[in-house]
Symmetry: C2
Subunit: 442 residues, 2 copies
Amino acid sequence: MTASGSPEKNPAQAGRHNLDPHLDRYAARTSGMTASEIRALFAVASRPEVVSLAGGMPNLAALPLDSLSAQVAEIIAEDGLVALQYGSAHGVPALREQICEIMAMEGISAHPDDVVVTVGSQMGLDMVTRLFCDPGDVVIAEGPSYVGALGSFTAYQANVVHVTMDDDGLVPEALREALTQAERAGKRVKFLYTIPNFHNPAGVTLAVERREEILEICRAHDVLVVEDNPYGLLGFDGQTYPALRSTDPDNVVYLGSFSKTFASGLRVGWVLAPHAVREKLVLAAESATLCPPTFNQMIVSRYLATHDWKGQIKTFRENYRERRDAIISGLEQHMPAGSSWTHPDGGFYVWVTVPEGVDTKAMLPRAVTARVAYASGTGFYADGFGSRQMRLSYCYPTPERIREGVRRLAAVLESEMDLVRTFGTVTPRAVSGPQSPSPDTA
Amino acid sequence: MTASGSPEKNPAQAGRHNLDPHLDRYAARTSGMTASEIRALFAVASRPEVVSLAGGMPNLAALPLDSLSAQVAEIIAEDGLVALQYGSAHGVPALREQICEIMAMEGISAHPDDVVVTVGSQMGLDMVTRLFCDPGDVVIAEGPSYVGALGSFTAYQANVVHVTMDDDGLVPEALREALTQAERAGKRVKFLYTIPNFHNPAGVTLAVERREEILEICRAHDVLVVEDNPYGLLGFDGQTYPALRSTDPDNVVYLGSFSKTFASGLRVGWVLAPHAVREKLVLAAESATLCPPTFNQMIVSRYLATHDWKGQIKTFRENYRERRDAIISGLEQHMPAGSSWTHPDGGFYVWVTVPEGVDTKAMLPRAVTARVAYASGTGFYADGFGSRQMRLSYCYPTPERIREGVRRLAAVLESEMDLVRTFGTVTPRAVSGPQSPSPDTA
């Protein structure tokens, strides 16, 4: 037993001069965990003089803080011993009922028992992946896709296969093709991860006439659908679309969130799961956080019960529409020929393709120096694609700042294109093989 | 491409008559996810006439709700747009500084940068396991161990090896033996998971003179230490112990929580990690929940800055000491010969061994019928051990209810022993092989 203490058997001693002495101890899944591109630049990009079109922070300025303040006080004064106590991993029953009423606005008929409240819909996504994905399993996702989803898929060592979108969202024929190819290759596809409405980052919406076809394809290939819908109520004309879940309750797991329609900092989201899946989901959630914060659930529940929350969403929508108009007119006015972009009818994002030869990832530090930040397209792909794309978020800055940001961005692009014309492509290296969802910017 | 729609290629059709049509889709890790024993009885056990010695809910009655109510209102009124907005996955800086001050009470010297705020320390545990455990890796844990930890280890398919405790906590020689055996068997041990103070569920504390030895053994075997310390400030005489982390900052990951010293329903805990680990931990946390709730962190931070939180902990301690006295005197008075129990100096739990022949898991439904609930010992072992043990929680009920509960429990035990004397053991079946941490009660 003493032999174990001898130096030649002690790898900790041997590794002591490594930068990270724990390097040999990490799980395999950590090899895909790398900081996002923008984070490396965060200290600079968050300076007030930089217009950030990079983040996805909702604009909360319109929230009724005075009445919210009174309500949180009431909850603690009247019901504090419940609000500050552990709850169930399933979530507060009253809130789960209200969530069903919200989902009814997009055609969903559901029982509150099948709703599981989560710490933001990110946790819902992580739990669904925990339930379904073994290492090496395939998840189909739109290309581009939500960076946080790619992070969860990486954490469970699932492989992402991207399926192309057009202005009407996910292309059914491309989905069919991808599924068939994966089957031929002997891969196990666990689910389609899709954001049908006001896509992050693409800014497009899945056409209603495609929805049944997508569901049919997934059923035919025995693939679950994970429908992520944080922006569904933020259509700029007040339009909503029938949720995929509304017509296929047995094969769709639906993720919802209060982060964009109320308050992101409360971290309250939910999963609506097929009944058979729900119990396992609660167990998974219990192992992850025991339960979501009780107080936060009670805040959301009281807000829904007492505020004109639909009116509040209307106000949010109008704020975002004004900002969407600002960014689109800025793009039309300033962007160099050879650029193109999507035309979002809701949500937070425009997806921009820049002229050939420009690498958005390589350009990012120069853009930040020119006091504008964006998210380069590569972060939204698991396969290294996206170097000619960028995501512009119009949700947070004022319309004036947005226009100024686009002006600066266009100027950076112009000088980048000068470089391209003079020296050829400024792409630092060819894209080769899969990259992590959020590679570091060197 | 149309062939994929044909019935013979459609497993979804074939499986449609299963109870759970998603059965073939779950990840391998879900096979270990089963509901806890007590949950099956929850509806009955939570009736007011049942004395529950089963749960671990802190007793919050002494919290200053009026001033808390005023403070949460102030936070929203004065700083609502920050409180209700996304924050970083790392956590609110002011809170991380205060956490360092708290940890200093147990001899820890740490930089706020190395603290990562989590959604309760359960999430910290889950993230640490995510970082370090591949399927099949071994985690060493005390036997018995915290059921929520076993749940996380199961979720990442780690194998738990239990090490015995005595009244002075984890037995160093047994730890050395377990590590040596695991090495000989070619297993990869990733960390020792330990609750040194006022152990859940065992109610014992690791002797100070053992602490250095435990750390030395782990270093010698190149095994990380995960120190879980939710109860450290709840020593009934105000005593604290030097944290393992205090003398070994490079090889200990420390988990802390406000759930037992302030408010469990806010779900605010933390991880103090070696510097090299911390960045990966933040990335893992980001993939799990994006960030912990900002508002909740600000509530804890303001509470620490403005309340006499040490005085509040003293009040909590006194409440729990009174309850500990009630349960110990009840046990001494009523328990049948052949029973034994630990003598906690802090925390929430007594670990009871019942007379030979009695199976606490089999007895549980009969106890609930007799209006007393406990947690049977098997839930605290990954290997099926614990059928002669039970955890009694004295944290929540009043001292009178606790005494009544123990009376009822003793009566149930007496009639159980009558059965044993008449029919032999009432153990329904021999323990065979590993069980999940929280098997269902059939």
